[in-house]
Amino acid sequence: MTSAATSMPIGGIIFLAIFIAIFGTGLIFLARAIGGQRKNNSAAKRDVYECGIPGQEKKESKVSVKFYLTAILFILFDIEIIFMYPWAISFRDFISSGMGTPVLISMGVFVAVFIYGLWWEVKSRALEWD
């Protein structure tokens, strides 16, 4: 591959992203131009939707910590999965070069740790939603 070919996808990706951003922004403005924006909306309209009752301004957020716990666990397991990718891609090469067994065992150990972690999280009810 020449250098132009290697940088081609990245150029394409950036081009497409910028194009969509401009296109999308243009659409927003187009919609605004056509649909228009009304001044002097009533307070009820300007408020966010809360099932028709006046919005409550209580800041005491009682959002479950579960969401963020899920995100943390996601990061950690995601990385473990990402680690399997280079292994998966080169596994056949390892086998053909005669190193299948140690590599399989080392990934087995890793997966065992993974499974233990998952099991622990399930057991400690970190993944319970209620």
């Binding site: 943390i72 990061i75 950690l76 990385i79 680690f83």
Partner: protein, 108 residues
Amino acid sequence: MINADFIVDVGISHYLILSAILFSLGMIGVLLRKNAIVMLMSIELMLNAVNLSFITFSKYNSHIDGQIMVFFVMTIAAAEAAVGLALIVSIFKRYKEVNIRFFEHLKG
């Protein structure tokens, strides 16, 4: 030093300088921001800057180990973010704020 060649011939030093600038920006963030979460993000930025120089050297030396190190750094960074955020959240639950001054219990 800054001339047409410098702009056209992009080489290892360009990447390294970019890495140094990003690192310093991250450092400023760590040093100056009050918000603990932003500090953590700045640390991520610093780590990213370091990753960039790792990859640069990997390319320069035609050696894959630099990329593997980046892989490891990312793992550590993710682990660090997970634990750091968990800490910050537990601080937040108590003080309802994430100002770094709530971490100042260990002073002389």
